[in-house]
Symmetry: C2
Subunit: 478 residues, 2 copies
């Protein structure tokens, strides 16, 4: 494809995307297709001869779009949001258009240096501690996800806990990590990937009301493991759990970690973005004093399309020691000068997209005040929805909704044999309608519905309509 | 940013990218900036108020572009290529514009099903075995890189080797993996990440001429480890090593793996794309019979911009068993039906971009014949360059260049005290000129220069000019 062809088709695709964004509300939120339906409509074999872009866009409309669940739809309330925005798409387009691979500084210096600048900017916007800035011993790095961020943090923690021994000798059966029963499954998965095995990932119980980690129990578990000769390597505290946005007591956990010499990773994958607002910055209490690493995903709630997660560390040395290998074909004078950052040593893969461009583009287009306005709108809309639920006798509101997520459950008559099944059936019916999309979780044995406000397109009318639809669907089944 | 604003700015950015692609040759290939130069030109603090897109594009030209090393430049010959192309950029733009997150089938069915179709297409284009197709027990999945593919393969291999034990109990000090001394460092790194420790990653010696793995030595190492009570879990055979594109004897290694019950991972990250050409399909001899997993990166040599690596497995069960966890908030009826694929269980992160769109777009735009033409052009240009080097007494050609990479070294007079330093100095001078960009490696103690032809913009005149520039630079120092 020549540059002139790209110019022509590129504008067609931009028109297509703009058209999609401006009519997204006319589509069912959740795709109605059955398993295999999209696949069956695509040819079983690749084309022998090239085809025009028009055919591709035709099939996009005809075959692919019916199979899309619209994450940017104003009535998408499931999971956590995966924000996209115009400037993020433009930044990503620039990244694709430049086609540079920033595995080391030398392979495109601006790819590394812009990343350093924007992750430092973001640390400032979020009020993260100065130790996480790149000009000290720490620094930030863009990852594909909080899962990968957690894995990298764990590898650094294991490296530190073993005095560097695991680099050559492996983890053996010595190390333990600690999460709560509410921690995201990616931490359990990181423990498995790193060779600890699920059995060495201890799940600390939570408070039955706040769902925050029980620090007394954590203390007992660590002491027990140490007495048994094991080495506690990492504790993960969560700010805003995936299930209900519960907040672990970071300061208390951190004090215990400091005392026991354990790495504290703070997973704020979703909720961390809220700290752009000064009035919400309390969520990070304890981070400045105690966190060894901290992760949040601008691709969740900060208008930057997937993938863009950021990991910060207080001390980058154990991470780099754990992950660095320097084969001859990657040697270069800049690396050897020690004056540059090679982010390949801060992540699992070697290669890297120029993802800093989209975060840069988002921060510049919106500015700090625009980012704050986005978070505040979502928090207000969630509060509005929570008030409606709270005022309705037909629902029980799960306590605590400081962010964009509201958890709640319908009250069913005592004659209903399986209230959880009833709640799930209502959710399935609502989701199948295409009018909105919710997800669920379980807490204290109850299935809760989760309504997460996050799309920049969502307005008061959408959450009010969501409330009316949910209430009506429950009423029908009572 | 409203859809109408996006339409306007999107076209501006498309024009910018088209302009960049059509003038790329006017720029120095390697960025001339010193460490910190880009960073120093960017504001230390994020903007409080949003800024117009024009300012962003202005800074892109003024600050970022001088710091770019141009991977798509026709005179970029370093490392391996990281191909981009018009249709890939368009596919990526559609992915950003749709902003869906395909972690499970249910979160956007088309994201999963198109991926299944295109990785099956690619398996067919490359002549990979039917067992790697998704309609059997195996399947393919897009990964960010071959590093992550190797890690996933290793986790599946460890799972199988331990009879599922490591999932709960960790790797302990039991397992071994085998690479050659020429295998990519990402394999060593995968061993470390998975908790084996570098000491349990055995490096098998290679033939001093072909640089292919010594299978006799591999056999002795495996036997020795088994006799010592260890469990061999994985052997990695490479088709086209990063250093010199050496090819390991896959069939022989595979027969040994079969006999010993060891997982065979084939890393064809760069060279695998060559198998779209029937006359090059011999490189995969032994794969159909023996490979448990196989990885190649369309983002290297198949016109699909980073990141797009594909991993195929013969049996997906151990991989899914190793990596799957199902928390309540991800449960859904489609997953429970068993009728769908959830690719989150096939990778390290949980979240996923819709990367299949760009591979789809590339395969459809070029068709099989267009992809073959691209590979053939690169192979021919490399052969042309190799002939020039071979005919020149001033150089020694490294034997074997079946793909786009040619390795060679200048001959220095015997009076030169450190020929390797001299070769590196020539390379540095050439790269600093901005006229072309080479990288290097080391083989049998000699520094070799690496010229990798891969950009679709590279023509005969570029490799001929490269030869003349290199010859002249060497002549000057003799």
């Amino acid at each position: 494809m020549t540059p002139e062809e790209f110019r022509r088709y590129g504008k067609q695709v931009v028109d297509w995307v703009a058209g999609y964004l401006s009519t997204i509300e006319d589509r069912p939120v959740r795709s109605p297709v059955a398993p295999g339906e999209v696949r069956d409509r695509l040819p079983a074999h690749p084309p022998e001869r090239g085809e025009p872009v028009e055919d591709l866009l035709g099939d996009l409309d005809r075959v692919i779009m019916p199979g899309i669940t619209h994450w940017q739809h104003p009535d998408f309330f499931a999971y956590f949001p995966a924000n996209a925005s115009g400037p993020a798409i433009l930044g990503d387009l620039l990244s694709s258009g430049l086609g540079v691979q920033g595995m080391v500084w030398a392979t495109s210096p601006a790819c590394t240096e812009l990343e350093t600048v924007v992750v430092d900017w973001l640390a400032e916007l979020l009020g993260l501690p100065a130790e996480f800035r790149t000009d000290g011993t720490g620094g930030g790095v863009i990852q594909d996800s909080a899962s990968s961020a957690a894995l990298v943090a764990l590898l650094a923690a294991l490296h530190r806990a073993s005095g560097g021994k695991i680099r050559d000798h492996g983890v053996a059966d010595t190390y333990r990590m600690y999460v709560s029963t509410e921690t995201h499954s990616s931490l359990q998965r990181a423990g498995r990937i790193a060779g600890l095995g699920g059995g060495n990932v201890r799940a600390v119980p939570v408070d039955p009301v706040t769902f925050a980690m029980d620090v007394g129990e954590l203390r007992r578990m660590i002491a027990g493991d140490v007495a048994a000769g094991a080495v506690p390597a990492l504790v993960c505290a969560t700010i805003g759990t995936t299930s209900t946005t519960a907040i672990d007591p970071v300061a208390e956990i951190g004090a215990l970690c400091r005392e026991a010499g354990v790495w504290l990773h703070v997973d704020a994958a979703y909720a961390g973005s809220a700290a752009v607002c000064p009035e919400l910055r309390w969520i990070n209490d304890g981070v400045a004093e105690y966190a060894d690493s901290y992760a949040t995903n601008p691709h969740k709630w900060l208008l930057t399309n997937f993938d863009c997660g950021v990991l910060w560390v207080r001390d980058r040395r154990p991470m780099i020691d754990a992950l660095s290998i320097l084969p001859e074909y990657l040697r270069n004078t800049a690396t050897e000068s020690g004056e540059v950052i090679d982010y390949r040593d801060w992540q699992v893969p070697l290669g890297r997209r120029f993802r800093a461009l989209k975060l840069w583009s988002v921060i510049r287009w919106y500015g700090a005040e625009g980012l704050r306005a986005h978070i505040r709108t979502c928090v207000e809309l969630a509060a509005r929805f929570a008030r409606l639920i709270d005022a309705d006798d037909g629902f029980e509101l799960h306590p605590g909704h400081p962010f964009g997520l509201v958890c709640f459950r319908p009250r069913w008559p005592s004659s209903v044999p399986d209230p959880n099944a009833e709640t799930l059936a209502v959710m399935e019916r609502l989701n199948a309608s295409g009018e909105l999309f919710l997800s669920h979780t379980k807490a204290n044995g109850h299935v809760l519905l989760r309504l997460a406000v996050g799309s920049p397109a969502t307005r008061a009318e959408h959450v009010e309509a969501a409330y009316r639809r949910i209430a009506a669907a429950c009423q029908e089944r009572r």
